[in-house]
Symmetry: C2
Subunit: 341 residues, 2 copies
Amino acid sequence: MNKPIIDVLNGSARKPPPVWLMRQAGRYLPEYRVLREKAGSFLDLVFNPELAAEVTLQPIRRFGFDAAILFSDILVVPQALGQAVTFAVGEGPLLDPIKDRTDFERLTSHVDHTVLAPVYETIRRVKSTLPPTVALLGFCGAPWTVATYMVAGRGTPDQAPARLFAYRDAAAFDVLMDVLVEASASYLVRQFQAGVDAVQVFDTWAGILPPEQFARWCIAPTRRIVTMVRLQVPGAKIIGFPRGAGSLLPRYVAETGVDAAGLDWMIDRTFAHEQVQCSVPVQGNVDPLALLAGGGALDRAVDAAMEAFAGGPFIFNLGHGILPETPIAHVEQMLKRIRGS
Amino acid sequence: MNKPIIDVLNGSARKPPPVWLMRQAGRYLPEYRVLREKAGSFLDLVFNPELAAEVTLQPIRRFGFDAAILFSDILVVPQALGQAVTFAVGEGPLLDPIKDRTDFERLTSHVDHTVLAPVYETIRRVKSTLPPTVALLGFCGAPWTVATYMVAGRGTPDQAPARLFAYRDAAAFDVLMDVLVEASASYLVRQFQAGVDAVQVFDTWAGILPPEQFARWCIAPTRRIVTMVRLQVPGAKIIGFPRGAGSLLPRYVAETGVDAAGLDWMIDRTFAHEQVQCSVPVQGNVDPLALLAGGGALDRAVDAAMEAFAGGPFIFNLGHGILPETPIAHVEQMLKRIRGS
């Protein structure tokens, strides 16, 4: 039986388009909040295959999305490189910041897959129970975005510390990126071996980079990951999501070799249709705040995405993760409008 | 005697290009920090014409910039509309947030120019002592950006509250924008009458808007301001700076009618040269973090901007405001490289 999302990634247009939402397994779901309270810390939940598999499946049961995305976090890679990560309640991630070259010595140069073993086990568990038409997506953070957290030690409004580090010591930053490229590629390969149908590379902080740095820290490492993964997993399907890439998105697509491009909510849809969807399938791009607002604003946002992209290969999604305050009824309203029922 | 910046705004290319820096009157200057301590609060300084004029002139004396920009803040407009603004030390602006329609009733519908009179007096004072080749620039925040602070009551990482407000009650948001368009236009007209040579409209938060909202909340209000100002000040020169506009920048330029476009540090320079500088002069766009980093990274950033834009009408600037931690020596290094001396 075909998985609609894989059909789209192979270049077919489906009507209605398949749909999933970034962060669809998460805090806006009451059944998630119940499990989350039981689990202890956020990472306890991520590294518990039984609970993580259940969380991954919750939005599929409730909404019948066309993809399940592995419940995990982009910062498990630094964790597996020896940089301890914690999630303080309501505060986001906290890491010991990497301030200079010598701080690299705290890290191992190869990812410790025993740390990540529970993630692979989660994938196997989900895979065994997922309906056959539903794709299972794995993911990792792109090296640039992961590095911004490793250098700053946390999320900041503009992730300036990593950009400053890279200006001041590009050679040292290259070493960090090399480590992350290799770690991310081997992490994705193991995800495929455990059973994912496709993966997404999240470069949430790509949009703050000037063009030369975008080429060096976003495009080049992503291209290397794509190449390394495909060497070991021929035909591996990879969705790239360089948030905020704007007019640089066509170049990202052409040079990284990703199979599909995630679109953020800010992009000019005419531009994205003409310059990106002409060469690869696209995924996106409703503003998560339009989903939170609901009503006519949501209908208009859904219609705008459908009109721009549904004539070609298109996976319906948001332009960034669903917000925790989003009402369930708004997700239902959106799905009804997409599916026309 | 000609002012090089006005020559550029009239379409001439100058070699070397004239230069000024956003936030050039500010905390990175030791002489500013001395005055700032004397003045009391930040707004006490803004509304004290003697001190504000001195602060405006400080960077001209030290660096010989080609423009002085009025020392003020975009939030004096809400202040003049009756929404009290304070600046807590190290915290940024604080306002009573506008949560719904009824909160509008706290505001007057017309700006109180007696509140802004000290700003006009600052302009007259600076004008009387500025070297004849140095342009005096006024400014205001664009309605969208000012509204994001009025609705959130402060700066937030993504200014989501205003975007959500506009989705939920676009008609009410239209009213707020109407008030801000009229207030901003009359504020700029008075700045011209007091002696500024040109003005800049800062739309710092334009880049978070989806394309339809960009057209409605960024382009349309700015076009109205441009039209209203030119009706009263024929030939008024207006620089538009919609930060993060990306691929929408050519549309912004064409539809607002601004005389020049400010470029942020993220924009693809080839795109900006081909799609924007072909029709209007451009200004920008070195990454403020490259200036903070200094050394080879700064030289490369300066060279990249010069190579992309210095062949046409171009005002050298940063892609956003200079950071308070920036060493004076790095500004000197940058000026030396631009001016080739």
